[in-house]
């Protein structure tokens, strides 16, 4: 027999030894070394991939149209920012008056995205902050101006893995900004979709409704923007309806994110 049973056993023993050593943590420094060797190359290629997939214009007309659109959006944002400043002030005064318990979620740490999952069954990214920066498992991760992109799922000394909201294992309690303030669960799918499930059948959901975190999930502050409703799936014989959510940021082009830490 070409592959002797002794050899086979030797291979299996080595595999189980590697697994045992990994879980015991005895080879942690060796694993960090491997990551440190692989990371620079992986990061450069990831940044290239983001740069390549960035928006490009094929003619001056397209560029002019994009500029016009951006200017309009900027003006709208300026108006929103002014209104937000007023509302923030009012909110702070009201909180003070009501002695409202404010969860302290302001601590955060900025991180660079240095890679993403190569696994077909998961949607994760790798960031360059870890235990050293007080990042712990389940910390929420945001991009742009507080848009929820996922949670920390694995932490190493100098790196952490973020499970994105479109990962099939991701579940986040969410609220729809509609008349009834419907509560549901935002879940990832096996493709690139994000869906909000468990929305009561009798509540009105319309395309374009904002979806924010409800604060009902552990360690997740409420009010973080997740995305907008893209379509609604409703079956008359089912107790709940489902909405397909379009994430507020492109989850494939993340470069800088923030982890909402507890310290």
């Amino acid at each position: 027999m070409y592959l002797k049973s002794k050899t086979l056993i030797a291979y299996c023993v080595v595999i189980f030894l590697i697994i045992f050593l990994h879980f015991s943590g005895w080879i942690r420094s060796f694993e960090s070394l491997i990551r440190d060797i692989v990371q620079p190359g992986s990061q450069v290629l990831y940044e290239w991939s983001v740069a390549i997939s960035d928006e490009q214009f094929s003619n001056p007309e397209e560029l002019a149209a994009a500029y016009k659109k951006l200017k309009e959006a900027y003006t709208r944002n300026q108006i929103d920012a002014a209104r937000l400043a007023l509302i923030t002030r009012e909110n702070a005064e009201l909180r003070e008056q009501l002695l409202f318990f404010d969860k302290n979620t302001s601590a955060h740490v900025g991180a660079n995205v240095i890679g993403k999952s190569v696994d077909p069954l998961s949607n994760t990214i790798l960031i360059d902050k870890g235990e050293q920066d007080y990042v712990v498992v389940n910390d929420p991760v945001v991009a742009a101006e507080g848009v929820l992109i996922g949670r920390i799922t694995m932490v190493q000394e100098k790196q952490a893995t973020v499970r994105l909201i479109n990962d099939n294992q991701s579940k986040v309690g969410a609220t729809l900004i509609n008349r009834e303030r419907s509560i549901g669960l935002v879940e990832g799918g096996f493709g690139i979709s994000v869906q909000m499930t468990f929305i009561p059948q009798n509540e009105s959901v319309t395309i374009g409704d904002l979806v924010v975190t409800s604060g009902l999930s552990d360690d997740m502050p409420r009010g973080l923007l997740i995305g907008t409703v893209e379509s609604v799936e409703k079956q008359p014989y089912q107790p709940f309806q489902m909405a397909i959510i379009s994430p507020a940021v492109d989850l494939d082009r993340l470069l800088i994110v923030s982890v909402l830490t507890r310290e």
């Binding site: 086979l8 291979y11 692989v38 077909p120 994760t124 499970r163 096996f190």
Partner: protein, 177 residues
């Protein structure tokens, strides 16, 4: 000393192909990003050297991949090692002979074993309760991986093998005159 050099450059090569595998999965558009450069390289190594060292190489490269995965540790290493072991056996007893079509069949077989073992272990460890509807999408993804990796292997096989054919031809025709 020669062994030390071989080990050093071998390790460097394995790190390089792992980075290339991770990097190309970022850079290439769908479905090209499903190409598995690691298995392709390992199968070429197996076909051209017929050495069981390929099993240790598999463990090494998939150990690195494991460090970047969030699925339970060990699934990648175990699946890939079993796949290479079975491929080694198949190359020795079933396929036999270094031909482009045997390399193609071997690569497709390696991917098939790797992905089947991987999915079974993943479901068994209950980390991913895969809904029935997702198996269709997953099968398509695995089929792309199998097709593109096999094509890549054949392409690389050609690059490695064809020059050696010409070299042999040259030696036979002119060098011994």
């Amino acid at each position: 000393m020669h062994r030390v050099y071989r080990f050093f450059f071998g390790s460097l090569f394995l790190v390089a192909i792992t980075v290339l595998h991770i990097g190309l999965s970022y850079l290439l558009p769908h479905p090209w990003n499903n190409m598995n450069i690691l298995i392709s390289t390992l199968m070429l190594f197996l076909v051209f050297t017929e050495s069981p060292v390929v099993v240790w190489m598999t463990m090494a490269v998939f150990y690195v991949i494991e460090l970047y995965a969030i699925i339970p540790f060990g699934i990648h290493i175990f699946s890939a090692t079993m796949s290479t072991l079975l491929s080694l056996w198949a190359y020795r007893y079933v396929v036999t002979g270094r031909r482009w079509y045997s390399t193609l069949a071997l690569t497709a077989f390696a991917i098939l074993v790797y992905r089947i073992t991987y999915t079974i272990l993943l479901v068994a460890t209950s980390q991913a309760a895969i809904p029935f509807s997702a198996y269709g999408d997953l099968s398509i993804q695995y089929a792309w991986e199998m097709l593109l990796t096999s094509l890549l292997t054949i392409f690389l096989y050609g690059i490695i093998h064809v020059p050696s054919l010409y070299r042999n031809h040259f030696w036979k025709k002119y060098a011994h005159r």
